[in-house]
Symmetry: D2
Subunit: 437 residues, 4 copies
């Protein structure tokens, strides 16, 4: 976790205090269920909740000090609770194993993290949608291979991003379901020393599903799927970030990240306005993705479990969620405040002398009975002249003057093909598909 790429709400999920609070709730709810089943006295559960009702501070340092001796985190925590709750605390954790607490806690933390990320996606979708409608019909050149192709609108670019992040949201909802399970099944998952109803009770209280079959741990294919999903979302962030970086290039300059008055772009070159936020997002995407492979390597634990996954999760649990949360927030800000330059978009669109309309002419020739191969040849030879003139020549004029073309199409027919609105006839259709409105 790098502080400058962190936001408080997500970071708090991964702080020791939150973890211990969740541990307590798991233990106390389990004690309730055990009491209900007659395994432990009701007074034990009551003692726990009574103490909790005093809203006790979690003394992380004290728990750490105990762990330094016992070298076991859950025992350290239970010892610390017992110091405060007293004698009745000995009924806690009956028939449970450490992993029951640790894994169910991780499920709660990842669920909390998912909820923040889902809210982040909602905010991002909202920002994209607003800007998409704002620029629904702002013409701009579409590019394949970095080369001018045919006109699109800037709103269409954003509609694409919207659809992509909407898919990401659906995937994250599925991933959240995958990791939101509770396992309280004992040392090797047999419930030998604990009734499955304890698990069911705790699960219900914490908003989790029960884990149908656990070993000592919740199976790690769930977490692998979760982190893989974060990696896909990060890749979609990178895509939109790269788009902005391209648009802000000096020669393109169709859009820019918002530039606050006090900001200095370079210690040496005061005129520079650099797309540093989206470049940063590109790097952050690499980091979120880097969690995917270790999460997958965590799946093949030995037999009923080994603990190799634990250190990995101490890194990627916080890092991937905190970084993705930060990145989604940063991207939302970039889109929300993006400076968009429609005039420059139009200027770029026009600079190739009408080459972007070549496809329409090609079709018109074919429809006028010229063979596909000839049509292609007629258009290409004129297009090449325009290309080599760096936009100084006009494709429309050249085509009118081409005798082969003129034999098939009138000057008016040729002119009709050089018209932007033609390209945007289906924008409403696409927006309706994407935004469902």
């Amino acid at each position: 976790m790098v502080p400058r790429y962190s936001r408080p709400a997500m970071s708090a999920i991964w702080e020791a205090e939150n973890r211990y609070r969740i541990w307590f709730e798991i233990e106390a709810h389990a004690t309730d269920a055990l009491a209900e089943l007659g395994v432990v006295p009701r007074s034990a559960a009551k003692a726990l909740w009574d103490w909790w009702a005093t809203n006790p501070a979690i003394d992380v340092a004290a728990i750490d000090a105990i762990e330094a001796v016992t070298k076991h985190d859950v025992i350290a925590f239970l010892t610390w609770v017992a110091e405060h709750v007293g004698e009745e605390a000995r009924f806690m954790h009956q028939g449970m194993t450490s992993s029951d607490v640790l894994d169910t806690c991780l499920a709660v933390q990842l669920s909390q993290a998912s909820d923040l990320l889902l809210a982040d996606l909602d905010a991002l979708l909202e920002a994209i949608k607003r800007r998409a409608y704002e620029h629904k019909l702002t013409p701009t050149i579409g590019r394949s291979h970095g080369i001018h192709a045919e006109p699109v609108t800037f709103g269409l670019k954003l509609a694409e991003a919207y659809a992509e992040f909407a898919r990401c949201k659906t995937r994250l909802q599925a991933a959240r379901l995958d990791i939101a399970t509770c396992a309280i099944s004992g040392a090797v998952g047999t419930f030998a020393n604990i009734d499955p109803r304890v698990e069911a009770h705790v699960a219900a209280k914490l908003g989790l599903a029960i884990e149908p079959v656990s070993t000592q741990v919740i199976p790690r294919d769930r977490h692998a799927m979760f982190f893989a999903t974060l990696g896909v979302i990060a890749s979609s962030i990178e895509r939109l970030a790269v788009e902005v970086r391209h648009l802000q290039r000096t020669e393109v300059l169709e859009a820019e990240e918002y530039f606050s008055p006090g900001q200095k772009g370079s210690s040496a070159m005061p005129h520079k306005r650099n797309p540093v936020l989206t470049e940063n997002l590109t790097g952050l995407a690499r980091m979120v993705r880097s969690a995917v492979v270790p999460a997958m390597e965590n799946v093949a634990l030995w037999h009923e479990r080994d603990i190799s996954h634990s250190s990995v999760e101490r890194f990627i649990g916080p890092d991937a969620t905190i970084t993705l949360d930060f990145a989604l927030g940063r991207l939302t800000g970039v889109i929300d405040k993006l400076l968009v330059y429609p005039e420059r978009m139009m200027k770029n669109l026009d600079r190739m002398g009408g080459l972007v309309h070549s496809q329409r002419v090609l079709l018109a020739l074919t429809q006028a009975g010229v063979s596909r191969e000839d049509s292609y040849k007629y258009v290409q030879r004129n297009a090449m002249k325009v290309w080599e003139s760096d936009g100084a020549l006009s494709l429309m004029e050249l085509l009118k003057a081409d005798t082969d073309v003129a034999a098939a199409l009138s000057a008016q027919e040729i002119e009709d093909k050089f018209n932007l609105d033609y390209h945007f006839a289906q924008v409403d259709t696409i927006f309706a598909r994407v935004f469902g409105e």
Copy 2:
């Protein structure tokens, strides 16, 4: 693609012939729709289908020869079709761009591949289920950290695998939906030169959904999610493979891969029966996973598309699906014919002199009023003696002879704790959860 890790049905999906067949169907269905819309003559569509009805051989070499000149695969294919269909073929591909064909074809191929993989998962699940019920109550030691923990049954191990692969199936179904879309939207996705109804028609005919908004290409977050899902499935394969490898270790030998009579395990050591299939699966899992990162790196194409994803997909499209198909088939065979040795399982279970029952004694002491810390101490000091004797001493006898323990529990109460059935009381519950029966 490595031939020895390939099966014919999956390989056929990726052969040139299948690709060209799908291309034809896309073009011909599109021509139908264009004819219906009055854009091209009905005779053009008819000419295509009439030729197709003759079940023409796909001359891959001829198409390759044309591509060697044009350096463009779709143009080469269209040229070849035109050579056979004649004049009417010029109406094909009206308003479409190559990617409309290529990406929709990839969607069909990945859907076909998904269907095979889903069938593979069904076969695997069936094999696991059968063996799980067969060994539902076969006792074996559960191990955490590779160390004996408490008893489980071999059926429970398989139930765990079943639940995991059932989750994998759900994930693959979702991933299949993600990639099964059709885009016929023209050069930059605006439908400038083609009516969206063409896309809808082709999608319906091919069993795909329409792509709500495409650029020139279908967005690659879909494919990233698909390959990430394959990576998760591969990791689950690795997990079960590693379990078998552990069980087959000389010192454990609780199960073995089936060993055919003619097979030689080693050129030097004729007694060896090596778990080579599951070791192989471990390696294949690494390969399937290796497709995940490139697939994610493919997402951030430049603007409306660049072609960097294409070479990646030429590798991972076939490799990841063919390898995973092979691996699932191999794993199914391993499970189906796995030699299971219940006697050896019991022998291993017993070898630690009853240490696996220590947790029950610990609980009994606590419930008899001994503090948690003292209970732990009493059990641990006796357990250590057994451990150091390498199983020669009996924990039950030592506990009976321990005055502190004897003060809290009678000999009979101690003996009651050394009982396997106690551990398996919830096996039915777990099976009901997993198999839903």
Copy 3:
């Protein structure tokens, strides 16, 4: 391996025939050494070499057929050789284990592959160097963050690439040393049944170092380092490829991949010249990199070996070397024939109205006694005007008219700062560092 991304010389290394030829040489050289040591009759070695001198065809299909029965590749090969050599062949492979042959063969193949890759790098370096000197003083704008910064020369860009690939060559030479070892040490590496002098003899004959200590296999950290090095080289390829892609963008167009007359860029847009080779290289780089993680996962084999690495190497051995060989060849062609447009470079350089010289003015102001902060402020306020004018205004004229600036610098002093040669004074120094001339 994807045929279209393969070249014959590298592919041949990975064909069955080459593998069997290397196997034979290992076995025959080993038999020589065994004969020298008196372990086997000299006639046995002679029989092998006599047969080999007949230049026998390697009947891959026959060997495969035997393997289908024995399920063991080395035994199948030995059996096939024995069928041809006769009785004496039984002395082959004395005291050896299959891995002695397999791993030493892989070392030979990877060494052969390294030699081709080193030659590829030499060719690439030669092409880069030639173009670097050609454009040593061709001015072009340097860009950070995609934004114009200060002038560089196109030759400097290529000098950077040269230095990078020269480092790659050094790394590959080290990696080649890492994998070029011979192990003939028997079933668990103890030389129990074979004298270490056999290993030394075979190593010397094949141009390999001896493996100081092997288990059954050559340790896989060597191969991990090898594939990691290929991954770094691939990343450097990607960097230069991305540079070309950027330079070919419509708005930049400072360089272009060579465009052959017959080539069609797009089925729909005849004017398009797409940087498809470098886009392809970007994708291929992803694939070569994808071998790195599995190669690292291969290191932790169990005990004296398991065979999980084998399937991985059947993929990545050929795939990573063949793809990298192809990519280096393609990149060499791109650089060799790259169309470079110095006029366009100059036009782009000038388009920002002299903003690229702002740093020099800033320094001059500081040296004239203006505080750093004020200098920055004076330059920035004028630079911003130029920026907002899209290059219509001239920074030089604005600065002359700025009273604060004029108070510190004369008009002539300001003009002196707007001079390209100033920036290129150290080009010779840098070229001398890079090319050592």
Copy 4:
């Protein structure tokens, strides 16, 4: 960075204070060189060093506060220094760009980190060597595929690890050279505003090589190679960790991590001694490896630089080095204190009834004139009986009783083959190769 997987010396390298100290030294040494060249007054350099000689505390919070306004870290630092040094400070950073400072600083930090890691490797090698000689002739079974193969010694296992980590050290030394370069070349690497002698001076003072050609930044292929090398080292750590984990399995128990008296292995099963350190190392290896791909993705920066690498390096710079340092230290401790059980090794070695000697018998039969195929058959049929008896039958006795075998070998000849020393005849040779003594 996860505190529990960190050690102070390595962490300190990555703390803000160390970074600012390095920045100061770069700036002050550069000012010295600028003064020497007459570009700035000597008094400026003197003022910097005079202040530095007062050993001023680095006020990280104050610098952060300035950065919050300027949004530029180097400017913030320079401003803070100027507040303390006064007027003369304005001569600092003349002609330099931020990256000159940042990248050279990173080179110093990575060099410092490398030095710690090299010392870690030395300590690890020393521990391995000591234990290797201690157990040079301790017999233990060699295993391939997890199955008993032939005898080795425990010292040989450690010799293998020694050779592997010695290779890792060589690789890290090469990687250190790769990243230890100094670039002070200005905004786009042309030295337009700064003499190359400044770079040379700073490089010499900091123990770095000059960067032959930089853009704005030091090229990232260097860092990719560095992190790839860390990934290989991590993989070697994983290998040795996995070996210990296997040896500590209940059924094997040939070695154990040292178990401190106060340590509790499990909250539920007091008898458990889990290999938690080596399991942890397995996970940490995954994390170090996870830095490799992002480091490679960092190589292809756009043009003369973009800043996408920066966020990645803020994570992986500290994380990979701190984690690897911790892991090497932990592994050294594990090896140093490893509990080794030679009796258990011998017991395991014997448990297969002499099967491990089958290869020797096979050879003896061949040498006695039996065909390879028959020899194999005779040994295998007896070996299978032993195998199926789970070690109850003795291979030696069965072979003596086999008429085909007895026809070729006398009882004494058979007995001679069942002898451990035979296997260890080359241990001295191997140790001499590995330890060079």
